[in-house]
Symmetry: C2
Subunit: 346 residues, 2 copies
């Protein structure tokens, strides 16, 4: 698409379609502002949908417990009356100013979106799993149905009867080892250190399962190479520091080495950034550039808690702050939702 194509025009561009970005659509909508939403993933929901859809979340107010994917779908439903336009599977690229003082955000397919407000709700940025340094590993990630190397558990039941290597020593490795032990045929946990860096309750559960023989701890070992045909693995070969090898005959490898976080092109937008976080005014979530806001895990200010709940509250702050920029000169009459209900957009 030519860069000269006429841009989409809207009131706010939301970068990131995780729960906080989706709730920003709602909060902006409540104040009469329309939004376009850009996300690098193919579906809305951010990490909640992509990395831990079935994980229970306990600290969303009013939900004693809710699965991550259900939270996303409820918030998406809440945003729907405001008719957001989603640009999914798209990365944002450049940011530039339009002739009349609006911003133009361009995405990697050449689409341009013009808006007076830009809200960065990109979580940890465009994220991806850290790959272990094993030659050819990407080949084993490609099967569209059930790849032999995976970086997230989407449906626990897909692992029923499988022999699994889980690699890593953090919360994800520990928690999934415990969880998958209920369905998998056998689980090896490969960790190069003696100590897990995870919540004590999780470690205790893992050690109990190891004692019962339901999980086999392969410690201290590191992933060395894969034995396979370039599409399906036969075994994972691990090594300790003395060079001793073990061959673990399994069906699937789950490396949990954390997320590679990157702001990507946003780091070139002239914002005050420190270690992949964007500094904002906590009263408004405004960045150093007028009309550009950051909310959720990517926003940084004194006292910031990386809770979904905090991101939700920040979405409300950003919407109220952006109102005067989207509708210059119009006073905002503060109303409770109980009084006005859901407004209809112009």
């Amino acid at each position: 698409m030519a860069a000269s194509s006429s841009p989409h025009r809207t009131d706010a561009v939301i970068v990131g379609a995780g729960p906080v970005g989706l709730f920003a659509v709602f909060e902006f909508g409540m104040l009469g502002m329309r939004c376009h939403v850009v996300d690098s993933l193919d579906e809305a929901g951010g990490q909640c949908a992509a990395l831990y859809p079935e994980k229970p979340i306990y600290d969303i107010p009013g939900y004693p417990v809710i699965a991550a994917k259900d939270l996303v779908s409820r918030v998406k439903e809440q945003a729907a009356p405001f008719q957001p336009v989603y640009h999914l599977g798209r990365h944002v690229e450049s940011l530039s100013g339009s002739s009349d003082g609006a911003w133009i955000v361009e995405s990697d397919d050449g689409a341009r979106i013009e808006a007076r407000a830009v809200v960065i709700a990109a979580g940890v940025g465009a994220f991806g799993p850290n790959r272990p340094p094993i030659a050819g590993i990407a080949d084993y990630e490609r099967d569209p149905v059930f790849p032999d190397v995976q970086y997230a558990v989407k449906r626990r039941d897909d692992f029923r009867g499988k022999r699994v290597v889980i690699a890593g020593g953090g919360d994800s490795a520990v928690d999934w080892a415990v969880s998958l032990a209920e369905v998998a045929a056998h689980i090896f946990v490969v960790h190069r250190g003696a100590k897990f860096r995870a919540a004590p309750a999780g470690i205790a559960a893992l050690e109990r399962l190891a004692g019962e023989g339901k999980v086999e701890l392969v410690i201290p070992f590191q992933l060395d190479r894969l034995d396979g045909d370039g599409r399906h693995i036969n075994a994972v070969i691990v090594r300790d520091l003395d060079g001793n090898e073990r061959r673990l005959a399994v069906d699937v490898l789950l490396p949990f080495f954390g997320l590679a976080q990157s702001l990507g092109p946003i780091s070139g937008w002239g914002l005050n950034v420190d270690r992949n976080l964007i500094a904002v005014d906590p009263a408004t979530c405004a960045t150093n550039r007028p009309g550009i806001y950051a909310i959720g895990d990517i926003a940084s200010y004194a006292g910031k808690l990386k809770l979904i709940l905090s991101g939700f509250a920040e979405a409300a702050l950003a919407a109220h702050a952006a109102y005067g920029i989207v509708f210059p000169g119009q006073a905002l009459h503060f109303e409770y939702s109980t009084i006005k209900g859901i407004p209809t957009l112009r």
Copy 2:
């Protein structure tokens, strides 16, 4: 009860059992802190339960719509695993320091609660409706089943077939006139001004109903007196500025003249207070007195939005800030609820 009776000991005293106070119990509980909760009302839920239990709320994340009373009951359920101790129907009175650096909050029944943290989540304070200045009006508020003068609609269906005077020109008057028009036999709306101070959509609905004869606007008139037997009214007599009177034969009067707000004894606790609001540090919700926090509508800081959602996020901030005061010297290991679930209290 003698003031010298031995105090209850806990980690935090929450003043106010509205949704934000209840959620504070949850957030403190997630960090291993126990709470006592004091509220002047006889049931938990604050204004949500007492003043508008059936009103729909649209801006709670993850709930496209939820009735106020349902929100309260969900949050109360969420707090329940942490076994809060409720002191309902009690006003807080004095605040004093204990010998070992904790606070002692005393309530009007002489009970004393000792805790290192105090969280004021008192909304608009101990509140009550503004009564119109009509001699003897309180007599008509006393019927335990259906008083002829009421300041809130608890169950809309109780008004089915009734002739109603609604007095006032704000959102409550307008919204309830529109809502009760569906069930009441007749509705008069008495307002002394020509203009309503309410959301445009509500005013438009009211004027449409007036045009259809379903609501009768009595404007510009003021309440003057009641005609009745000291328990049941026969009519409400209204007057305009020229002294003209009208006699409105009705069953029930609903004056909506706002809430009388008062911090009550809290105003003597040495906190920085401005117009019934308590100034806090937005990073921690800490007041000027160490260990005392204010959250929700009663808290004031730059950019503060009076949203239930904001109060929820403030509860999380206060809990994290109070942790170091309740457990001095213990580092707080930040964890997501998805990882650790609900902790059990010691």
